[in-house]
């Protein structure tokens, strides 16, 4: 029944050729994981966990052919390190440099034999004078304007040129304002095809014509994202796809999660080619491609310059408020601007502090200035030359040893020194000695005693300061001396010693150190010193009139009247040493004792610096020196003793001593002890009163003040 079966089948197509199973070798299915990438030599590429990018390593080896072993940095004095400039080619292997690599080495023509039509920009070297060399610009082809050159660069073909090479005009570029030849203006240009499409779109950027820029993200859905190059070759779209980076040979690219969708990728029309052609241009065509647009550009609104009112002066008037009246400008004076011709040479000389030049009236101003300047220069020049700064005859860093050094022409030493040296008279004439201060550190190193102060080693005479301590102590001394004669011994106080010492100090002091209390007996202090004065009881009547300020300080009370104090002041200022004391009010003895103690406790011997209201010499009775015997006598209502007025002795220096002291001293010397004692008793009572009164007065006075 074979025939029956064969007749029923309809055969379609061409049957396959019969093949022998044994003849053709079977190809095993190669799985993905078995597919490995090898290079031209069969060596494995993409080692390890390779996921893309460049393959690392030198065929999975490290440290061969010197390329991957890190070189040790070595630099020594004998062999300095060489700085090697590494290029990308160092890290590439043959595959990269080969035809299909990333940096294929191609044989190219050199610059001189380069036949590319591209106009290459002339690079001008940035030497000391950057930019286009001026010489290049001097002579140029004036008919080849920039516009002409640009269009020619684009590819414009000049139609109907009347300008031939012979008519090329050459001139300097400075002549810009020349008229264009009518032939140039009227000639038409043919736009190359490549710009037709680009120029159809209204251009609102400053890129070049037809510029598209980098691709806006390879994540857009369009196929063009993956295109490496899109080329239109004879209306056939030929795309060259692929990716040069990122993914390995066997892996699919991951979805790009960073890509941004572009709405433009959805903007496409379905139209036929015929429809494309129907886009017609209406309106007037300019340059074969430009037409007048329907949208007019916004006219730039020009704002005119505001009109300035006439009253505007341009000066800022400060006003407190908007409604305040404008300050009158005329009242303010502008700073006086002295013009150059207003000043005379003499006034200028005065201002500068120099001597006025002569003939100032006749000669012109400039001449006046010049001699001044010249004088100045002459004054200044000599010390400049001879001191520190000398004009360099030869530079410091002259490296050529064969150049002989120029002799310096400076002259040293003074005229006298040079003469002396010539005459060989060295010694006094040639030697100068100055003070020089070694640094303390230097002294240390040289084991030499250091100077006390780095700054103050100048030989200064020590400034004599007023020894106020001694001044005050001298007051105390006075008081002590007032009661010198016939006083009780007071073993508690070692007063005599102090008094003695004070007296020695006094003798040294100058007579100028007077103050209100009469210390006029400085000159007499020496004779007094020799006298053995018995112990002085300080509690005894302290002469308040002498130490007014002292008591003021101690008894700062207002019991005393000002008037009385003032009268005292007046009396003090006069010559007389005698007290003028108004009758003191009676006070109790207890108070007296208190006061005594207070005085003692107050440490009279402590120095109290008194501010002198009057001058130092105010209390010196100079009248005495001139006219002896003219001492005005004042009534002494409560004079303790009747002291006969004594004629001032011419031999005595200084103002007159208080009578009492003189008397007492004399009495002592004469050893009229009995009389003295008697007198003292009398004094005591009266003086006590006197003292009390004075204190009260002082107190009163203070009260007034308050």
């Amino acid at each position: 029944m074979d025939d029956y079966e064969e007749e029923k089948f309809n055969f379609f197509g061409k049957p396959l050729e019969q093949y022998d199973e044994d003849e053709i070798p079977k190809k095993k299915p190669i799985f993905v994981e078995d597919q490995i990438a090898t290079d031209s030599n069969g060596r494995r590429r993409f080692h390890g966990a390779f996921t893309g990018g460049f393959s690392a390593g030198f065929f999975n080896t490290v440290g061969s052919a010197g390329g991957w072993q890190p070189t040790e940095f070595k630099s020594s004095r004998s062999e300095k390190s060489v700085s090697t400039i590494r290029t990308a080619e160092d890290y590439m292997d043959e595959e990269d440099i080969g035809e299909f690599g990333i940096a294929p080495q191609v044989i190219k023509a050199t610059k001189d034999f380069n036949t590319s039509k591209k106009r290459k920009k002339k690079v001008f070297s940035d030497g000391p004078i950057p930019g286009v060399p001026v010489l290049h610009m001097l002579i140029d082809n004036s008919t080849e304007t920039i516009g002409y050159l640009l269009l020619r660069n684009i590819g414009f073909k000049h139609e109907g040129t009347e300008i031939s090479k012979q008519q090329r005009v050459y001139g300097s570029t400075s002549a810009k304002a020349y008229e264009m030849r009518p032939s140039i203006r009227n000639s038409t240009y043919k736009l190359p095809e490549i710009y037709e499409e680009a120029l159809k779109i209204h251009k609102n950027n400053t890129f070049g014509i037809g510029y598209k820029g980098l691709d806006r993200g390879y994540a857009s859905l369009k196929l063009s994202q993956k295109n490496f190059v899109v080329k239109n070759v004879k209306n056939k779209n030929m795309t060259i796809g692929g990716q040069a980076f990122g993914v390995g040979a066997f892996e699919d690219e991951d979805d790009d999660i960073y890509g941004r969708e572009d709405i433009e990728s959805y903007d496409f029309e379905m139209h036929t080619e015929k429809q494309q052609e129907q886009i017609r241009v209406t309106g007037r065509v300019l340059f074969d491609s430009f037409i007048l647009s329907s949208n007019y550009l916004a006219v730039n609104e020009i704002f005119p310059v505001p009109t300035i009112p006439r009253s505007f002066s341009g000066k800022h008037k400060v006003r407190k408020s908007r409604f305040a009246p404008i300050q009158d400008e005329s009242s303010k004076e502008e700073p006086k601007k002295t013009r150059r011709c207003d000043i005379d040479a003499t006034t200028r000389a005065e201002a500068l502090g120099e001597k006025a030049p002569e003939n100032s009236g006749t000669s012109s101003k400039s001449e006046d200035i010049k001699p001044e300047i010249k004088e100045k220069k002459e004054d200044v020049a000599p010390w400049l030359v001879f001191d520190k700064f000398v004009s360099a005859g030869q530079s410091d860093e002259h490296t050529d040893p064969m150049v002989p050094a120029e002799k310096s022409s400076s002259v040293y030493g003074t005229e006298h020194q040079r003469e002396a040296a010539k005459l060989k008279m060295f010694g006094d004439f040639t030697r100068t000695t100055e003070d020089w201060l070694p640094h303390t550190f230097l002294c240390k190193r040289f084991n030499v005693p250091e100077p006390a102060h780095w700054e103050n080693v100048e030989l200064k005479t020590p400034v004599r300061k007023r020894n106020l301590i001694f001044q005050n102590e001298k007051e105390v001394d006075e008081t002590g001396r007032v009661q010198s004669s016939g006083l009780q011994n007071n073993p508690d106080f070692k007063v005599p010693h102090e008094n003695q010492s004070l007296k020695t100090i006094d003798s040294k002091e100058q007579s100028t150190k007077n103050d209100e209390s009469k210390e006029g007996d400085i000159g007499d202090s020496t004779p007094l010193m020799e006298v053995e004065i018995p112990t002085i009881d300080i509690t005894e009547k302290i002469d308040v009139s002498k130490n007014k300020d002292l008591f003021k300080a101690i008894f700062f009370s207002d019991d005393e009247d000002e008037d009385t104090v003032e009268t005292k002041v007046e009396s003090e200022s006069r010559v007389s040493e005698q007290e003028k004391l108004p009758s003191p009010p009676p006070t109790s003895d207890s108070k007296m004792e208190e006061m005594k103690e207070a005085i003692l406790a107050k440490d009279i011997f402590l120095p109290k610096i008194k501010p002198l209201k009057q001058g130092i010499l105010s209390d010196i009775p100079f009248i005495k020196f001139t006219k002896p015997g003219t001492v005005p006598t004042q009534p002494e209502p409560e004079v303790i003793e009747e002291v006969p007025q004594q004629q001032p002795d011419d031999n005595l220096y200084g103002p007159k001593l208080p009578e009492k002291i003189v008397n007492r001293v004399e009495n002592l010397m004469e050893s009229k002890s009995d009389d003295v004692w008697v007198e003292r008793k009398e004094e005591k009572t009266k003086k006590e009163k006197h003292k009390k009164h004075k204190k009260e007065k002082h107190k009163k006075k203070h009260k007034h003040k308050r």
Partner: protein, 301 residues
């Protein structure tokens, strides 16, 4: 008096700018224009060490009192202290504005004193790490050519024709105008006189305290070059180099020329150094140094 040349050493340093004995006279230092300092045993002619580190010619060097350090000054404006045994630079002191012409230690070698072409003398503290000078002496009006240091004085000779003696103890500066640019200054052994070599072809003996000239020694030619003069330890003779390559020797008292000794004919003999104790002299000329010793004058029969 006669000087015998015992040894001649070719230093191979270019030009020898200065030759100096160390503190006890057993070694010597040569400063070369090849920027190196060499330490020699001059008696045997052996080079012991080279000290390199300066940026320009080395113009002067000095050894410390314990022979452990060397101080050197160079035209590269820096002063370097070296460790003698290792040869390493210890300190580099920069402060001068111009090349340094002379360096000296003080007696205890705790201070280094350098004089320079910038008219100043700078005193450096070598014990501390201070980078600035302790004191700067800027009284001179021209380059400093020579310095000497005693226990309490610093003596400088300058091109401004004056020698200046800084008395640290008395805090005084005595400057003596000599009349010609000064090339070298030396103290006599008793410290009472100063030997001043100047560029007017004269060496003078100046009394330290009065400034008077006690002696004048002429005959040699120095022209403009920096030629050193020295004093033999015995204080009887004065030595000086010269442009003609001769070592001139005068009797100190009489001032007469005793003898002239040749180092290198027609080449300047620029540096002279005397042994601190013995009558031994080192001279340097061009690229060689010569060691001279006093020998008794052979009496002619």
């Amino acid at each position: 008096m006669d000087l015998q040349c015992i040894n001649t050493i070719d230093c191979k340093q270019g030009a020898v700018r200065a030759v100096r004995f160390n503190v006890d006279g057993s070694y010597c230092l040569t400063c070369g224009s090849d920027k190196k300092i060499k330490l020699w045993n001059p008696y045997r002619g052996l080079m012991l060490k080279i000290y390199g580190g300066h940026g320009n010619e080395v113009l002067d060097a000095a050894g410390s009192n314990d022979n452990s350090q060397i101080i050197s000054g160079s035209a590269d404006k820096s002063v370097i202290t070296w460790d003698v045994s290792t040869g390493a630079p210890l300190r580099r002191l920069r402060g001068h504005a111009s090349g340094i012409t002379c360096v000296k230690y003080n007696e205890e070698s705790s201070v280094g004193i350098s004089g320079s072409l910038d008219n100043t003398v700078m005193i450096w503290d070598l014990k501390s790490r201070r980078q600035e000078p302790v004191q700067i002496l800027n009284q001179a009006k021209d380059c400093i050519n020579s310095i000497q240091v005693t226990d309490h004085e610093i003596l400088t000779g300058s091109v401004d024709c004056s020698i200046r003696r800084y008395d640290i103890r008395n805090r005084k500066l005595h400057s003596d105008f000599i009349g010609a640019p000064i090339m070298s200054v030396n103290y006599t052994s008793d410290g009472q006189c100063i030997v001043v070599g100047s560029s007017d072809d004269t060496v003078r003996l100046i009394d330290k305290n009065t400034g008077e000239m006690l002696g004048e020694y002429l005959g040699h030619k120095t022209e403009d070059l920096n030629v050193e003069s020295a004093l033999l330890a015995s204080d009887n003779h004065i030595l000086s180099g010269s442009v003609t390559g001769e070592l001139w020797c005068w009797d100190l008292v009489s001032g007469k020329v005793v003898k002239r000794f040749e180092h290198t004919i027609k080449k300047v003999l620029n540096s002279v150094s005397t042994h601190p104790v013995k009558d031994v002299v080192l001279t340097a000329s061009v690229n060689t140094i010569k060691l001279w010793e006093v020998s008794e004058i052979k009496e002619d029969s």
